[in-house]
Amino acid sequence: MQTKNIMIVGVGGQGTLLASKLLGRLLLDQGYDVKVSEVHGMSQRGGSVVTYVRYGGKVYSPVIDKGEADFIVSFELLEAARWMEFLRPDGRIITNTQQINPMPVITGAAEYPRDLAAKMAAAGAKVDAMDALALAEQAGSSKAVNLVLMGRLSQYFDLPEEAWQQAITRSVPEKFLEMNRMAFHLGRNS
């Protein structure tokens, strides 16, 4: 099969790495060749971060380039807009509507653009905008935004919930397992 591309974007510290690890495990279990590319170091300090997940029969490049992403899963609204150029013409953006101001906005040097979800849709992208933070808090922690978004993403995969839950069990610490399972469930049924 042709390689499929999922980008996970957000703000350093939001938990994008866990989401990519979970996806990597899940897709490997389904028998695909998988590559997951992460970013470490300086950009983790509150900067814009991106993780690439690619799967298929044989995957070569570890990164996703402009115009290639089947899905962009964004933990923050502005980051969805920043990376939109990487979306395929028929690709889908799944984005948290949470807004985190970057430093230029905080200092007043720039403005946070308004109505980004609507603008992305108007530009031709399929957009699922959701308040993942609210669902994460409902599940028990604001830090579970990643699992809520994975739940939403799972709606577009022909896989039983059990396969996802198994990958979650193997990816998160025991202590937070129930909360994360709940967050995923809420996202999947959102």
């Binding site: 703000v11 350093g12 510290g13 690890k21 990597g24 495990r25 490997l28 060749d33 998988v34 590559k35 997951v36 590319s37 992460e38 970013v39 470490h40 170091g41 300086m42 950009s43 983790q44 300090r45 509150g46 900067g47 814009s48 995957v59 070569y60 490049s61 570890p62 990164v63 380039d65 402009k66 115009g67 290639e68 992403a69 502005l78 980051e79 807009a81 920043r82 939109m84 150029e85 990487f86 979306l87 395929r88 013409p89 101001n101 970057p102 430093m103 230029p104 906005v105 905080i106 200092t107 007043g108 040097a109 720039a110 403005e111 946070y112 653009p113 980004l116 992305m120 530009a123 992208a125």
Partner: protein, 580 residues
């Protein structure tokens, strides 16, 4: 078992399976996780050394003693370790020794974009270059065989995309080779001129032997293609981009051994294609070799020596037009990395900014003190350069710059190579004020222990080097400790030390706010009836603070209650919960 592994973890697995017994490294993105991963295997002794030179010499000592050894570092770390590298190249090894160097094309987390392949050529050492995790594991194991067979340290060259990508590996079992007995061999291991003169021809012969190996090894393989109008020589992550774009269309010579390079194999490959094309990141290293063989080719005239390549870049140059994505027609504000909320460096940098000092900076999270609104750093070069640079700055000023200039350096960076600069300040007597930003951890690379933290790589308690005693021991009499959360204390201390007629060290001490054991206070709140919207609290560039509709606001999910902003508010509008 088939599993997904980060390139760095796969290298660690390869070292483990090869029976590596001693590992000594200094953390540096993108190399850090190799050593963190191997530390999890109880059969392997692994440590963080104070710097890369010490790490490499430790690994050499272990090899000399007869055990397979390893050291890992980022590209700039190899500059620090270059001194032992060039001479271990002469002595060769006893048991196998592998040195990993991880380049950072694209400078995701580095101060330059140097191409470490030049070191292999300059030091006359073999270098293997994996293109994914499976090769990372396999090449690490093979490197030990080559090291012992050719009596040489072997370089393993990684890059950000191979180090930090997970791909599928199949793991094997650990096989521990019998230790090689140590024997005194003066002519091999004592590199004084008489002996070194005997060793140099050995090194040249070794290179000839390695070239012969390079001609036949499966590390350098030809993948056939249907269209012979172009033939591509490539390696590492560039190989992945080429295959992504071209599949099996063009023949590819995939190089897994990047030095020494084969000669006949390349000539033969070139003879079968119309246009030889070299696709490589950064410098035209393979290209130069091919040109020396008298081959015409397309290389750096097409592929930039600046930054990373990607599949789209490769596609474009090979005449395949990629599907362009559609950017949003909107002004998207940048999101540069920032100091975290509650970062202990923030308060100290605010004071340096306020006092309008010239600040020679160093390598670590605190480099972010250079960013607006703090804008408190004047230079950043390499590990330790703040301390030695300050000494030169003050000597050039002949007293003019005294009292206006300081150096800032982190605890780990100070132990790495700041201490020698401080020795120079004491010995050659400059009136310097050095500020050690002691956050009790190596922060930027993701929380590694160092000689000042009291814990080793495995997390066990160990000797804790006392910074105050160390500074005093090298001859600095004025050493004092401040809390960077207390702005007036910092300001007073720095003013006093700058005014003092001798060298001084100020230790700004508070643990990194991200450390698990650090207890956070409840977030501050804004009393909107008191807030006049003066934006004084905005001067510290805290990501938790913003001003909306003329009033300050604190993001309760980010604020850790450090209270630095509270000290800037003249109207008592920012309040800790107990004051409300």
């Amino acid at each position: 078992m088939k599993t997904l592994m980060l390139g760095n973890e796969a290298v660690a697995r390869g070292l483990y399976e090869a029976g590596c017994a001693v590992v000594s490294s200094y953390p540096g993105t993108p190399s850090t996780e190799i050593t963190e991963a191997i530390a999890k295997y109880p059969e392997v002794y692994a440590e963080w050394a104070p710097n890369e030179k010490v790490a490499m010499e430790t690994a050499f000592g272990a090899s000399l003693a007869g055990k397979r050894s390893f050291c890992g570092m980022k590209h700039v770390g190899l500059n620090v370790a270059a001194d032992p590298l060039f001479t271990i190249a002469y002595t060769g090894v006893n048991a196998g020794m592998v040195i990993c160097v991880a380049d950072d094309a694209g400078m995701h987390s580095s101060q330059n974009e140097q191409d470490s392949r030049h070191y292999a050529k300059a030091a006359k050492l073999p270098m293997l270059e994996p293109a994914d995790s499976a090769e990372g594991l396999a090449f690490a194991k093979l490197a030990y065989e080559l090291s012992e067979r050719f009596d040489t340290p072997v370089l393993l060259k990684m890059c950000t995309r191979v180090s930090h990508s997970q791909s599928v590996v199949e793991t094997g079992e650990r096989v521990e080779p019998a230790p090689v007995p140590y024997e005194k061999k003066a002519s091999k291991y004592i590199m004084m001129p008489g002996n070194a003169k005997q060793r140099h021809p050995v090194v040249e012969q070794r290179t000839r032997d390695l070239i012969a190996y390079a001609e036949t090894t499966s590390l350098n393989r030809i993948e056939e293609g249907s269209d012979r109008r172009i033939g591509i020589i490539t390696s590492s992550t560039s190989y992945q981009y080429v295959k992504e774009v071209c599949g099996d269309r063009f023949p590819v010579l995939k190089l897994g051994m990047i030095w020494p390079l084969p000669e006949q194999k390349i000539k033969d490959f070139a003879a079968t294609v119309d246009l030889l094309t070299v696709v490589e990141e950064l410098d035209g290293f393979i290209e130069e070799h091919c040109r020396n063989l008298g081959l015409a080719l397309a290389g750096k005239d097409y592929f930039s020596p600046v930054g990373e390549l990607s599949q789209n870049l490769v596609a474009e140059k090979l005449g395949v037009t990629p599907d362009a994505g559609k950017a949003l027609d909107e002004n998207i504000p940048a999101r540069p990395p920032v100091m975290c909320a509650g970062c202990p460096h923030r308060g100290l940098f605010y004071v340096l900014h306020k006092l309008k000092l010239t600040v020679l900076g160093d390598i670590g999270c605190y480099t972010l003190g250079a960013v607006a609104p703090l804008s408190a750093i004047d230079s950043t070069i390499c590990m330790g350069a703040s301390v030695s640079g300050l000494h030169g700055f003050l000597k050039a000023g002949g007293g003019e710059m005294d009292g206006k200039t300081v150096a800032v350096i982190g605890d780990s960076t100070f132990m790495h190579s700041g201490i020698t600069g401080l020795v120079n300040i004491a010995y050659n007597e400059s009136n310097a004020t050095v500020i050690i930003l002691d956050n009790s951890i190596t922060g930027m690379t993701g929380h590694q222990q160092n000689p000042t933290t009291g814990f080793n790589l495995k997390g066990d308690p160990c000797t804790k080097i006392d910074l105050e005693s160390l500074c005093r021991a090298v001859g600095i009499r004025r050493v004092r400790v401040v809390d960077p959360y207390d702005l007036s204390q910092c300001e007073t201390a720095i003013k006093e030390e700058l005014a003092a007629p001798e060298a001084s060290v100020v230790i700004s001490r508070r643990p990194c706010a991200l450390l698990k054991y650090v207890k956070h206070k409840p977030p501050l709140t804004v009393n909107t009836s008191k807030c006049v919207g003066c934006k004084a609290c905005m001067k510290i560039g805290c990501p938790a603070i913003s001003v909306r509709d003329g009033k300050a606001g604190v993001d309760a999910t980010l604020c850790v209650g450090c209270g630095v902003c509270e000290q800037l508010c003249k109207f008592d509008a920012l309040q800790a919960p107990e004051e409300v």
